[in-house]
């Protein structure tokens, strides 16, 4: 169980770190002019040339593989509620690293989503 919690902590850190690097990269790339395939492809071309994209990808790849291992070790009813904690860790990262304005309403929404995901996922555990 110690290995599971250690891997879960690594999963949460790599998920948040990867997504924060990705967000920073996408913001510095700039949004596509229009949501048409050509403009989106041009945007993707610019995005993959951004250094932050290549910081985010290995972290997200690690997070992805950690999730695969967690899913093979534990039931989805444990893994998904536990991974929902990434909403809280991610919001902390968005506030303190990306300097996003996280007001009370946004915090309340994030916490509700987190508990909601846990309740929905726990539904598959049989009651004794």
């Amino acid at each position: 169980m110690t290995a599971t919690f250690l891997l879960l902590a690594l999963f949460l850190c790599s998920t948040t770190g990867g997504e924060i690097a990705m967000t920073y990269g996408m913001k510095s790339t700039g949004e596509p002019e229009r949501l048409r395939p050509k403009q989106v492809l041009q945007f993707l071309g610019r995005a993959v040339c951004n250094g932050w994209f290549w910081v985010g990808i290995p972290l997200m790849a690690f997070s992805f593989y950690a999730l695969l291992v967690l899913l093979s070790w534990q039931p989805i009813s444990f893994v998904i509620p536990a991974s929902a904690l990434s909403n809280v860790v991610g919001t902390l990262g968005a506030k303190y690293i990306l300097k996003e304005e996280v007001n009370t309403a946004r915090w309340a929404g994030v916490v509700l989503v987190c508990i909601g995901v846990a309740l929905v996922s726990l539904d598959s555990i049989p009651l004794r």
Binding site: Y24, T29, G51, R106, G109, G116, L122
Partner: protein, 131 residues
């Protein structure tokens, strides 16, 4: 774009779980991880999951170029609510009160986040990093 992101992410996750269940528990050792890696890259369900997750990634990158991370992230959970409604409407499944409470909390949470300003940061000047 956010809806496409949610659909792709959930389809990808479900297929991933199915693929990993086929593979079985992964042994944490050099040979165990190498064996699991070989099984993973030769499993068609895992590849289909990766295709959906690639679609999710494109939508996600596009949305993040404009909106806050803390605004986009909670929307991902909306997939649970959509899956529950689809199960009730099309599969006539019975849903427990606990699951309904979870779905309602997710919907209220997403609505609360949705009412906030989508972008609270200024544009970031392009920077080079040493990766």
């Amino acid at each position: 774009m956010v809806l496409a992101m949610v659909v792709c992410a959930n389809a990808g996750d479900l297929l991933l779980k199915r693929g990993m269940t086929d593979i079985g528990a992964v042994e944490v050792s050099g040979s165990g991880l190498a064996h699991a890696f070989r099984l993973t890259v030769t499993n068609p369900t895992i590849w289909l999951a990766i295709l959906f997750l690639l679609g999710f990634m494109i939508c996600y990158m596009t949305v993040l170029s404009w909106a806050d991370y803390s605004y986009v992230m909670p929307a991902g959970a909306f997939g649970y609510a959509i899956l529950t409604f689809l199960a009730v409407i099309f599969l006539h499944e019975s849903v427990s009160p606990r699951r309904w409470i979870g779905v309602i909390m997710i919907c209220i949470g997403v609505m609360l986040v949705g009412q906030t300003k989508p972008r609270t940061t200024e544009a970031v000047a392009p920077q080079k990093v040493t990766a």
